[in-house]
Every structure is written in structure tokens, then in C-alpha cells.
Amino acid sequence: MTGGLSWNLILDVRELLSFHFMLNALRAGTIVAVVSGVIGYFMVLRRETFAGHTLSVIGFPGAAAAFWLGVNAAVGYFGVCVAAALVIAGLPGTGRATGRGSGSAAIGTVQGFALACGFLFISLTQSFSGELNGLLFGVIIGVTDDQVLVLLCSGLICLLVLAVIARPLLFVSVDAEVARARGLRPRLLAAVFLVLLGVSVAATSQITGSLLVFALLVAPAAAAARLTARPGLGMLLSVGIALLITWLGEGIAFFSPYPIGFWVTTVAFAIFLLAAGYRAAADRLGRRGTVGTPA
């Protein structure tokens, strides 16, 4: 993007940090990585990736509309994602749809329509394709100080709420029947979690764009789930991997002519493949000796 890559890593990092926009991108990326690492872990555990996908697709027209109206894109992302999360929570039994059932045609139609609306808002805005690519695939430049502040606040609130409901939510996710018998309220917990998911999808979209949210939301959690079966450790690993993906992705994108979306997804995919390979190797070794941990 600007200076070339030299062989002195420390110098490279210092050059990278000398740009204010890069500093902001790293700050925003770090916040997003921590939040999406934790929330993503619960999302994969609860098998709600499809809900996450829907939320991210629906966020796109929100951001595009905000852009068209001249409002900050963050307002559009947060507003629409949280509203959509509430709607999904209100519908009976849609959160766990895998996209293969009979309802998938309906969900597909809604997603297609949402994308078409986003396209409409973008083409109503006269200054076309640069913004469109940014909204869909993420941008590294142009994260303002205000945006970082908004991300930080929303991230903190998200993590605080999650800290309060983490134990019951984990219980409900693993065994809903027993949890209900113990007096927990699975439906309320599910709704609260979906709203948290909406917030974190909205935050992640601002870094990776609407179409590549999964790179930060699913890949770290899926990789962590293959490395350990313990929830606490898994969550930590998931955050660590998400941080690694963002920092590496943003760093490489800074020194290369290719966009951040490509690098973030590629790093995420590579780490996921490594984790899956480790799991396969460990299973093969474990079958001979003691029983391996279940994936």
C-alpha cells in the first residue's frame, strides 16, 4: 500500500504504526477480534452459524442505507443487525435452521432481497463502486477515532452482558432439557445471545465487510473447537486465533497491493486447515493409546 516490506521486522512494524489510519485499523481490529472470538465460540457451540450469516447479509442494506442518507455506516450496521436479531429471536425455531430444510427457500429469498436492497441504496448514492466494495469486503483505511470509540463501547457492553449470562448460556447450549428443569429460561437466554450476536456481527462487518464476517466469527471458533474440548480454554484460544488473524491480515494488507478481505480470509482459512490437520493427526495417534478428546 505505501512503503515496501524490508527484512527488518521491527522497522516494518514501526513504519506501519507511524500511520494514524493504520493505528486505528489495528485498534478496531483488536476490539473486533476479542468480541467475535468469544461470541463466535458460543455461536459455533450453539450451531447458530446460519443465523450469523443471515444477520451479516441483512446488515449490508442497513449500512448502504446509512451511507445513502449520509449517516455513519456504523449506525446502519448496529441498528439493522440488532433489529434483525430481535426478529429472528421472535420467530419460532429459526435460529437453528441449517439452510438445508424446507424453510431454506424462504431464508434464501429474504437474503437475496436484502442484498438487492443494499445494491439499490448503493446505486442511489452516486459515488458507486469504491464504497460498495468496502461495504461488502471491508476496508482498512478510514476507520475514524469516533468509530474506534463506538466499537470499544459496544464491545465492552457485549462482553459484560456475556460474562453475566455465560455460565447459564453454556449450560443451556450443552443440555437445554436439564437446564430448563433447573429453572433456567432457554428462550430468554437465546434471545439475549442473538442480540449479542447481532452487535458483534455489526462490529465485525465494519472490518471485514458484510460478506466475509465468517472469517472472524466462525473460523477462530471452529479452529479452537478442533484444538480443545474445554470451553474456557477454547474461548481463550478462539480469541487468540482471532487476534492473530486480524493482526496478520491487516499487517500483510498494509504491505501488499491486495485488499484486506483477501488476506484476512486466507489467514483464517490457513489456520483452520492447520487446526483440522492437527485434530486428524491427534485422533489417529489417540486411537492407538488412550481415547482422544472428542472434537
Binding site: 439452510g99 431454506s104 427457500a105 445494491f119 439499490l120 466475509l212 465468517f214 497491493p257
Partner: protein, 291 residues
């Protein structure tokens, strides 16, 4: 260009006098016919998800061809047909292997690769226009030229012939695979062959509404048709009619209000069809339960 006529008949006459509208309607009708018919089987077989996968691949394939300096449609068709075949062959072997987290990660990476090719294309090609990515993602039916319209009709004819050849066994295999297999229907190769057809259709449809929206065009009119009738041949015909109708109305609406892009209007009509069909059957169901 946009002289709005006082009455709709002259307005339609004005519209049809433009060459770009004629090409859009000729090519678009062929595309919509095929997506309606193939889409009916897609919905019937519960393979909307496969169509979603193909739409991601369509984007990356098209942009990769642009980056390599080839014709966009070449990349589109190769990528979607090859991946369609591969999906069909894999599905028989490892049915439960594709857990949704894995597919999510793979999809994100495929799109990420598309972004890479797009950036490569826009920075390395001197003739590149910045709107190429937009065109691939969201389509531009008004950009279909005479030769593209002819090719679209030709491909549609091929798909229709192939579909006509396998329609009966495919319907049987979709509704009851076990009995079909017992009766000697070659279920094993019908699946991959059908998904290859879906790939061709996806490549066609992405020219009309773009890679991101094509799976909704494949799903919405057929899903509406399925709500309205249980009889397969009626449903098939209805799906084709609804799909063509969505395209015609969409093109006309986009012509009448030039600020609305055609991809948006086509998708809006298709979505409205599905919403109307769903609420109609919901209403009927409630009434029959009450009475």
C-alpha cells in the same frame, strides 16, 4: 431516453423500441425460463444451499477469468459446472461431513479469493473499469448485447433439452429416492448430472441478476409455485411462468423508474411472489382449519 408516456400502451411501445431492452427481454426470458424450471427441482430436492455455494463460486470464477484476461462467461460456466459436479459427487460419499461451520469458513475464503482476483484485475489491466466487480456481483441485464443474448438462448436450449431428458427419473428420485433406486433409476449419477445443470443455470442467471442474487432467483419463484400447487408438473410450469413474469415486470419497472437497478426490481417481484404465495396458503390453511 426516459420519456414517460401518458398511457401504458404507448409506454410499452417506447420501451420495446430500444435495442437494449429487446436484448434484455430475449436473453432474460431464456434465463428466467431455465432458472424457474431448474429452480423447481432445486427447491424440491432441498438443494438451495448448493445453489448458494454455486453463487459464491460464480463470483470467484468470473473475476478469475477477468484477471486472466479471458471472457467472463468462460470462467463463470467452467467454475459453476465443475463445482456443481464436484458437489454432486461428494454429496454421495460424505453426507454428514459438511458441518455448517466448515462450509462457512470455506465460503468466506472463496469470496476472499474473488476479492483478490478483482483487485488484481483492476490494478493490472489497462482496460479495466471499476464497475466490473459490481457487474459480476449484482448483474446488469441491460448490458446484454445481441451476441450475449444469443448465447444465453443457446445455453438455455441445451439446459432445457438435458432437463427434459432427465425430468421424469429426476422427479421420481427427488420425491422418493429409495423406491426410485429399487425401480432401477440411476440415482447415483442423476445427482451430479443435475447439479452440473444447476451450475450452467447459475452461470446464466448471474448474467441477469448477478452472482450474489442468483440463488434467490433460483429459489423464490419455484418456492412460490410449490406453495400454490402440490402437483409436480403443474408446479414446474407455474415456476417457469412466475420466473419469466418476475423478469419481465422487473425489466419494465426498472425502465419506468430509471433510478431503480433492474436486479433490484427483478428480485423485488420474485420476493413479492413468494410473500404473496406464502400468505395466500397461510390464509387458506387457517380458513380450512376453521371450517
Amino acid at each position: 431516453m426516459m420519456t414517460r408516456a401518458a398511457d401504458p400502451i404507448t409506454g410499452i411501445g417506447h420501451m420495446l423500441s430500444h435495442a437494449f431492452i429487446q436484448h434484455a427481454l430475449v436473453g432474460g426470458t431464456a434465463i428466467a425460463l431455465v432458472s424457474g424450471l431448474v429452480g423447481y427441482f432445486v427447491v424440491l430436492r432441498g438443494q438451495v444451499f448448493a445453489a448458494d455455494a454455486l453463487s459464491h463460486v460464480a463470483f470467484t470464477g468470473a473475476v478469475a477469468a477477468l484477471a486472466a484476461g479471458l471472457d467472463l462467461r468462460f470462467g463463470l460456466i467452467t467454475a459453476t459446472v465443475v463445482v456443481g459436479l464436484a458437489l454432486g459427487l461428494l454429496a454421495g460419499r460424505a453426507p454428514a461431513a459438511a458441518d455448517d461451520a466448515v462450509t462457512g469458513v470455506v465460503f468466506a475464503w472463496v469470496l476472499g479469493l474473488g476479492v483478490f482476483f478483482l483487485a488484481y484485475f483492476t490494478s493490472h489491466s489497462s482496460t479495466a473499469d471499476g464497475a466490473a466487480g459490481t457487474r459480476v456481483l449484482f448483474g446488469s441485464i441491460f448490458g446484454i448485447g445481441p451476441s450475449a443474448a444469443r448465447l444465453a438462448v443457446l445455453i438455455a436450449a441445451v439446459v432445457l433439452l438435458a432437463l427434459a431428458a432427465i425430468a421424469r427419473p429426476l422427479l421420481f428420485a427427488s420425491i422418493d429416492p429409495q423406491v426410485a433406486q429399487a425401480r432401477g433409476v440411476p440415482v447415483r449419477w442423476l445427482g451430479p448430472a443435475f447439479l452440473a445443470l444447476v451450475g450452467l443455470t447459475a452461470a446464466e442467471a448471474s448474467q441477469a441478476v448477478g452472482a450474489l442474487l442468483l440463488f434467490a432467483l433460483l429459489a423464490a419463484p419455484p418456492a412460490a409455485a410449490q406453495r400454490l400447487t402440490d402437483r409436480p408438473w403443474h408446479g414446474l410450469a407455474l415456476a417457469a411462468v412466475l420466473s419469466v413474469l418476475a423478469l419481465w415486470l422487473g425489466v419494465a419497472a426498472s425502465y419506468a423508474w430509471s433510478t431503480l437497478p433492474p436486479s433490484f426490481t427483478i428480485m423485488s417481484v420474485a420476493t413479492a411472489q413468494y410473500a404473496l404465495a406464502a400468505s395466500w396458503t397461510a390464509l387458506l390453511g387457517r380458513r380450512s382449519r376453521a371450517g
